[in-house]
């Protein structure tokens, strides 16, 4: 858009808001970049191939992620001397295409972490609000369970599960969820306890609102902020935990690609083939950071007091 008197407008705006143009651009970038990164990752996850449309040969991934090519193993990325343009990000020790595996890994890593986050957040929030609102002995009892869950070594429990149920996608989701709800329960319970004492909850009781309504309409909307912050932080935690489980062999099973298992695959070759670990690692980093930025932005938007008029 062309402004008739652009300089004057810019100047007055800065004078009014005290926010410089650069700051505003940065602020927009912290929204636009994360959204772009996450959208890209989600598109990768969905369209890695079109097997869900019955067309496994088409998709974003240039190669079959599990097809080995012994002649092309340890190829560096295409932009480095010795690389082939066919393998944009190089190949691993079995000659599998890194790019295709990163794209397919997005599917596993994102769906595992998102599923686990929604399960843990849902269970933890319900228990936390209930515990904080009811208080007394119920609260004491539930919080001791939370203490136990938080003090339990998660990896050990996951290993037990893997032995009992067998490794696989749903085992990972379950292993990440079975203790993870405790973080949410404790956070939300604290908030709930605080909000329960507030004047507006007393007022709701005077109005005759039922405990369920108070929890749903008065307490829940006021814990959403903290909840979103924790959920976005957990995106990174969950992806990393999934990687750890895959690394010790009780997570996603062998040929299937997940970012975590790719990082651990390349660990041994780090000195001569850095690209095997680096690209999935970059993907993890980008998703975690984008999640955090986006979480911050959503929190600001959800809080009407911070919303700009």
């Amino acid at each position: 858009m062309v402004s008739i008197i652009p300089n004057v407008k810019e100047k007055t705006r800065k004078q009014y808001t005290g926010v410089s143009r650069g700051t505003r651009i940065m602020k927009n970038l912290t929204l636009i970049l994360p959204v772009m990164v996450l959208t890209l990752m989600v598109i990768c996850a969905i369209f890695a191939n079109l097997s869900w449309l019955g067309l496994p040969q088409y998709g974003l991934a240039p190669h079959d992620p599990n097809k080995t090519a012994p002649r092309d193993k340890f190829l560096p990325p295409a932009f480095i001397e010795g690389g082939k343009s066919d393998y944009l990000l190089g190949t691993d020790k079995l000659g599998r295409d890194i790019l295709s595996r990163v794209i397919h890994g997005a599917r596993v890593s994102l769906s595992v972490s998102l599923l686990a986050i929604f399960i843990t957040a849902g269970v933890g929030t319900m228990l936390g609000i209930f515990s904080g609102y009811v208080g007394g002995r119920v609260d004491g009892f539930l919080m001791r369970i939370v203490d136990v869950a938080l003090s339990f070594p998660g990896l050990l429990l996951a290993m037990l599960l893997a032995v009992a149920v067998g490794p696989g996608f749903w085992t990972v989701v379950f292993a990440l969820s079975v203790l993870g709800w405790a973080f949410y329960a404790r956070l939300v319970r604290g908030e709930s306890l605080r909000i329960r004492q507030s004047d507006f909850v007393a007022q709701a009781r005077v109005n005759g609102a039922s405990p369920f309504r108070i929890m749903l309409r008065h307490i829940f909307p006021n814990v959403v902020n903290s909840l979103i912050v924790l959920m976005t932080l957990q995106v990174g935690m969950m992806i990393l935990s999934e990687a750890a489980l895959s690394y010790i062999g009780i997570g996603i099973t062998a040929p299937q690609a997940s970012w975590g298992s790719m990082v651990s695959d390349g660990r041994a070759e780090l000195d001569r083939a850095w690209w095997i670990s680096t690209f999935p690692g970059v993907a993890i980093g980008l998703v975690v950071m984008s999640g955090n930025f986006l979480g911050d932005w959503i929190r600001d938007k959800l809080d009407p007091r911070l919303r700009q008029v």
């Binding site: 007393a202 007022q203 005077v206 909307p221 006021n222 009407p304």
Partner: protein, 326 residues
């Protein structure tokens, strides 16, 4: 005399003080100790006293936010403790509403004004969304807010406007009675009169009963028909507002009234002529024997520290709890 709407008989609230691992009760905080009052239809009763006197606890008991230790609350002549939970919800809650002291914390920051004002209707009536919407706009108009305010959030209003919203919420169900806990004390002086006038107008329109809790005597005098002066969990003087302000009997009331009217002396070298009480209110954990006020009273005599005074009726419309008025 108007019909009695709500009556408190010998209301008592004691909070246990616990100590140690086993939470043994080592004492009781006597927040309220046997107070009685009546609220008449269409009239205003004010509870006045320093902080810690038990005014807010009284309000909380009436709103059923605190349980009574002993005593009875009668609503239209019937004992509330005999009401079933369903009857409380259907008959008492909708008829006894409240406006809280602090308009900044009494509203859910995540709800729009129309949801805040409409909540009592959603909870207590079977009105449709459309009906609630219309009713909310009607009430907002009653308290002097505009229709476009309905879709805003509480933080977008000034204190006075927020208190209007709180009043609107209290009136949504056409209650018989509203408990006003320091309705204007959190507001700027310039807005207080507006809100007080609004409350008085609404009282006339809807024949409302008010229970006002206040420490500002000017507010009390303007708003109330009946006044109860409270000190350390007891009512020390009770009667018609004008009578009490014209002819205060209890030394504590005299001190309060004297403190509220600041008369500067002509000669600057003279001290301000005011009854200034010594010290602070004693702890309700261990109230003084005899008359509870004797430790700070400037008219105290020997018997005050020994015998507990009775509430005495000195006139038709005036009762006082003091040894000096027999």
């Amino acid at each position: 005399m108007a019909e009695v709407l709500l009556e408190g008989q010998n209301l008592t609230k004691h909070y246990p003080v616990t100590k140690g691992l086993l939470q043994k009760t080592v004492g009781w905080v006597r927040a309220i100790d046997g107070i009685s009052f009546t609220v008449e239809q269409g009239r205003t009763l004010s509870l006045v006293g320093e902080s810690g006197a038990g005014k807010t606890t009284t309000a909380k008991m009436i709103l059923l936010l605190e349980k009574l230790t002993s005593g009875k609350i009668l609503y239209k002549g019937e004992d509330l403790s005999k009401f079933s939970a369903a009857r409380i919800k259907s008959q008492y809650r909708p008829n006894v509403q409240s406006v809280q002291q602090n308009p900044w914390s009494s509203m859910n920051p995540r709800m729009r004004v129309r949801d805040i004002v409409g909540e009592p209707l959603v909870v207590n009536t079977k009105m449709t969304k459309q009906e609630i919407r219309e009713k909310v706009l009607e009430i907002l108009d009653d308290v002097g807010l505009k229709a476009e305010h309905a879709s805003l959030y509480p933080h977008e209003f000034s204190g006075g406007q927020r208190q209007r919203i709180a009043v609107a919420r209290a009136l949504a169900l056409n209650p018989n009675m509203v408990v006003l806990d320091e309705p204007v004390s959190a507001l700027d002086v310039s807005i207080r009169a507006q809100i007080m006038n609004l409350l008085k107008d609404l009282q006339e329109q809807h024949n409302l009963s008010y229970l006002v809790i206040a420490h500002n005597l000017a507010t009390v005098r303007y708003m109330s028909h009946t006044v109860a002066i409270m000190y350390l969990g007891e009512i020390v003087e009770y009667g018609e507002a004008e009578e009490i302000f014209q002819n205060p009997l209890h030394p504590y009331t005299k001190a309060l009234i004297s403190a509220s009217v600041l008369v500067l002396p002509e000669d600057e070298t003279e001290e301000i002529q005011q009854i200034i009480l010594k010290g602070e209110m004693p702890s309700p954990l261990n109230p003084p024997p005899g008359c509870r006020f004797h430790t700070r009273c400037n008219e105290a005599s020997a018997q005050c520290s020994e015998a507990v005074p009775e509430m005495r009726r000195v006139k038709e419309n005036h009762q006082v709890k003091c040894h000096h008025y027999v």
